[in-house]
């Protein structure tokens, strides 16, 4: 019954091949679930105004503000950002605009 080699990741998986009871055999797979299209508004990063103060990455509930090896933030991960606007609110330098999707 069980099939641990065929990883449950595509909508084509047939019932005979799907993992038993929905068990997930690999860690860190939440990134494969794209939630970006839930958004009705989105943050825009204005890089020239940004002072790299690091206030926005830790407040993002979806870890959608990537931080590189130098400790600097990069462009939003729009595949997972749900558009909550917390980052725009926390920014002291108006470096994050918050606009309607569309």
């Amino acid at each position: 019954m069980s099939n641990r080699d065929k990883y449950l990741s595509t909508v084509d998986v047939k019932w005979k091949d799907i993992t038993p009871g929905g068990t997930i055999y690999e860690a860190g797979n939440a990134k494969e679930f794209k939630t970006g299209d839930w958004r009705s508004q989105k943050p825009i990063w204005i890089e020239e105004k940004c002072k790299q103060c690091s206030l926005c990455p830790p407040v993002c509930p979806d870890s959608s503000i990537p931080v590189n090896g130098d400790g600097k933030r990069e462009e939003f991960d729009y595949d997972h950002c749900k558009g909550c606007g917390v980052c725009a609110k926390v920014c002291p330098f108006d470096a994050i605009d918050f606009v309607n999707e569309g």
Partner: protein
Amino acid sequence: MAIRDRLSGNEVVAIAMKQINPDVVAAFPITPSTEIPQYFSQFVSNGVVNTEFVPVESEHSAMSACIGAEAAGARTMTATSSNGMSLMWEMLYIASAMKLPIVMSLVNRAVSGPLNIHNDHSDSMGARDSGWIQIYGENNQEAYDNVIQAIRIAEHKDVLLPVMNCYDGFITSHAVENVELIEDEKVKTFVGEYNPEDYLLNTANPIAMGPLDMPAFQFEHKRQQAESMKDAKKVILEVAEDFYKLTGRKYGLFEEYMMEDAEVAVVVLNSTAGTAKFVINKLREQGIKAGLVKIRVYRPFPVEEIINALSKCKAVAVMDKADSLNAAGGPVFTDITSAFYGKISGVKVINYIYGLGGRDVKTNDIEKVFNDLLELKDGKEMPVYNYLGVRE
């Protein structure tokens, strides 16, 4: 050499659990199943089992703890009755969907209301679509034998479903009968070690169990559950065969009593079978070809097998100790008549709702059913949906 003893149904099930020595038992007391965790907690206190006993604060927590323990990789057992299982409801479906081989003794009792602590089958019948295997036992011996077999059935790799070991509250749970126990060592060998393939405490292979299952996948998982239920039929018979080799006691999907040439037959579950056998013996002395089908395995439902067993009868009464309140008939009746559909015609099948809320089922009640069947066989018109033993 098997051990002869005199024990109540709950006592003998608790002893079976002692012999199985599961890793975890999480339970909450409710009449008439209370004695199972009561006896078992004594075994724990006396150190005769290695089980982690979790005295939870409700049945919802009992089943939740069982799910957590079983997912962690522990062989897990519990017991409940009636409203206790009602409180487990949410978790029953999660246990089966997560494919966790939990074994629960369900001591059948009427579900409130009106409030009642006595025997009928409204509790287990309500859970017939929950994805649990349901095995029913007529007496103390069968309750003991079934719970031991349940471990092997549940944990089989082609099944991996939870099993309910059902037997009648008070009638079986509290009555003391002669039973034949199997030696501890033999039970231990029969059930074997529990080595699940996937479990949460396996640090070598970390997994997530029971995650959100969206429309793209949930249907496939339900289909998989349905297949496990179909496969369970074969496994139940294989385990019964091994059990027969161990004890000499034969079990199938159901028991046929005097069915070879039966013209009229009743279909029952649990303790009523004993009463019916007594009546059938008397009728046979009078030359009446009466028989009985006692369903042992209700989930999975033995569709083809049961129809074959009943196909030569002229009239059959399906007796339900639970009413579906659907203006049509009881649960066993609707399952049996659907099984007949398109396969066999000419067998008249009627339904009796009986024994609700612990109403006594006497030999003259069963005699009345057979008398009705004889008239039905001879062409008398009868309603399909009948009540037996209610004051009209």
